[in-house]
């Protein structure tokens, strides 16, 4: 019997000793609040463990010493008002002791007033969009892990599934307020290091805030089931010192004007079929393949196929319309706001010619712009 217990305990605990590279506890995080939450978590954990030791201790003592095989004869008591009142009141007091720090921390967490910087976070299937309220900066942030790693044809990187093409950049030591909302279903924006987890509800806004103490890169994930690729919409936050943050903001402004100039230039540019197809495939794989699948077959009954579909092989106008303006009431988003004219042109060309669609159509950025992107 004893040996079984030892084996049981060994089985239970050795794996965690072996898995040393993975932190097994809640993170302390890098904000005052996350530190408070961590302390609260540890306090309650210790209290629970202490209660557990006492309660299970009594029980195991009884199991060892009060067995029939040891000649134990059952006593006759079956109630005691005093004892029963005592063990009703004792937990009550313990609970009050737990509730006091919890209340304090909660009230601190729920006070987003007097923020230095406000960021609107919008969840959509399956990416995050960040918009800096006062800086005129906005961008999408998508998973950047290559499909080959997910499918196992390539070795998984260090930050597998926790890396994005463009992280949210925040200054440290500033009170940052987040306004969360969603474009479609409910998402939840969670960065463990800040102890911030707040649902993004479509049609409503939610507030949360943080003040980061230490510069660094912090990763999180969507924490509310939001459909097929719920597991593939990570969050990466880069916390910079104020000086670095200012440099970053300036860079963004520059990049924005360069991008605008490039977009302008692309309108007068004509790409060859090969160029269109090559660029289009890239855009398709990063933006469209999650639903319509890399092979263009879609998911029957959920996401329509691209191969041989009336959209991709029918009139070009309809194809432009649905890609640019989306389809109301479905998961098909309006990509006119997410992609440049050139990206749309290439991806439409790709969709109309890949998978034996072979319409031979070539679409240029100017065509897209004419449609009214």
């Amino acid at each position: 019997m004893k040996r079984v217990w030892y084996i049981f305990l060994a089985l239970l605990f050795t794996p965690y000793v072996l898995a040393a590279e993975m932190p097994l506890n809640m993170t302390k995080g890098v904000t005052d609040i996350s530190g408070q939450v961590y302390n609260l978590h540890m306090t309650i954990l210790y209290i629970c463990c202490a209660i557990g030791v006492v309660v299970f201790g009594v029980m195991i003592y009884s199991m060892i010493n009060h067995r029939k095989s040891k000649g134990a004869i059952a006593a006759n008591f079956h109630e005691s008002t005093k004892v029963e009142i005592a063990w009703t009141i004792a937990p009550f007091i313990i609970l009050i002791i737990m509730a006091i720090p919890a209340t304090k921390t909660l009230i601190a967490m729920e006070d987003p007033s007097d923020a230095d910087i406000t960021i609107k976070i919008t969840g959509s299937q399956w990416k995050w969009h960040y918009s800096y309220f006062d800086q005129d900066i906005e961008f999408y942030s998508l998973l950047s892990t290559p499909r080959a790693q997910i499918e196992g044809t390539e070795e998984k990187g260090e930050n597998y599934l926790l890396e994005v093409d463009k992280p949210l950049v925040l200054p440290i030591n500033k009170k940052v307020r987040f306004l969360m909302t969603s474009e479609d279903v409910i998402h939840s924006w969670w960065v463990p290091a800040f102890a911030v987890k707040k649902d993004a509800n479509p049609g409503f806004i939610n507030e949360a805030w943080t003040r980061i103490d230490i510069p660094g890169t912090y990763r999180g994930q969507c924490a509310e089931l939001c459909g097929k690729d719920h597991g593939f919409m990570p969050i990466v936050v880069e916390a910079l010192s104020q000086a670095d943050f200012d440099i970053w903001v300036a860079e963004q402004k520059n990049q924005a004007s360069t991008a605008a100039a490039e977009a302008e230039a692309s309108l007068s540019k004509s790409l060859s079929m090969d160029e269109l197809m090559a660029q289009g495939e890239q855009v398709y794989m990063s933006r469209c393949a999650a639903c319509h699948q890399p092979n263009g077959m879609g998911l029957p009954g959920v996401f329509p196929p691209m191969k041989g579909s009336p959209i991709t092989t029918g009139p070009l106008m309809d194809h432009l319309e649905i890609v640019i303006n989306g389809k109301a009431g479905t998961a098909m988003q309006a990509f006119g706001k997410q992609l440049t004219a050139q990206e749309i042109a290439t991806v439409i060309t790709y969709e109309r010619n890949a998978w034996d669609n072979n319409t031979g159509d070539m679409i240029q950025a100017a065509d897209v712009s004419q449609h009214g992107q």
Binding site: F133, T181, E207
Partner: protein
């Protein structure tokens, strides 16, 4: 089974079935109940969707409230939609006029419905609109643009703890939906 017991069974079954049917109804009754509670307690930051009348208040010059405007366009909505000003500072009781700009980017006529949401939710009850484009559906022809007016005032009873009110409009594409007005 005695006759008596059959009778008592039937009575009890009747009560229990009535209870179950009542709870089914209660499920639906939770819908208006929730709306009332939200309005009273500011649970979800919904604002009223009919115009309030402006009584000339004494404008509380000693307090300044920051009002932030946010526009959110749902992913299937092909419009451009933004506030004329992102942020303004107002005194409680002051009647303020502003507008949002909307443009239909698509080649189709589109009907939009803007849904307001205020944060913090407790402030929603104090944010009064005498005129708002969100009271009605908005229809824009292909490529048409419009200025959508909003006239509001902040109730001077706004709790002191609230210094900033964020008003977000989420714009939905309801062209293909059979809504007649809003649900309420």
């Amino acid at each position: 089974m005695s006759n008596n017991q059959g009778k008592s069974n039937r009575k009890l079954i009747g009560i229990l079935i009535a209870g179950a049917v009542g709870m089914f109804g209660f499920g639906f009754a939770l819908v208006p109940l929730y709306d009332v509670l939200c309005e009273q307690l500011g649970i979800n930051g919904k604002t009223q969707n009919s115009a309030s009348t402006y009584k000339p208040f004494t404008i509380d010059e000693s307090r300044t409230i920051t009002i932030e405007f946010m526009a959110q366009i749902q992913s299937d909505m092909p419009w451009e939609f933004k506030p004329e000003v992102k942020r303004m500072r107002v005194h409680p009781g002051e009647l303020v006029r502003t507008h949002f700009k909307a443009k239909n980017l698509s080649l189709k006529d589109t009907i939009g419905q803007a849904i307001p949401s205020v944060s913090p939710g407790q402030g929603a009850a104090y944010f009064n609109k005498t005129e708002c484009f969100c009271f009605n559906q908005q229809r824009l022809m292909a490529k048409e643009s419009a200025e959508l007016p909003l006239i509001f005032f902040v109730d001077p009873d706004l709790p002191d703890s609230i210094t900033t009110l964020t008003l977000s409009y989420t714009l939905y594409n309801i062209t293909d939906r059979g809504y007649v007005g809003s649900v309420e």
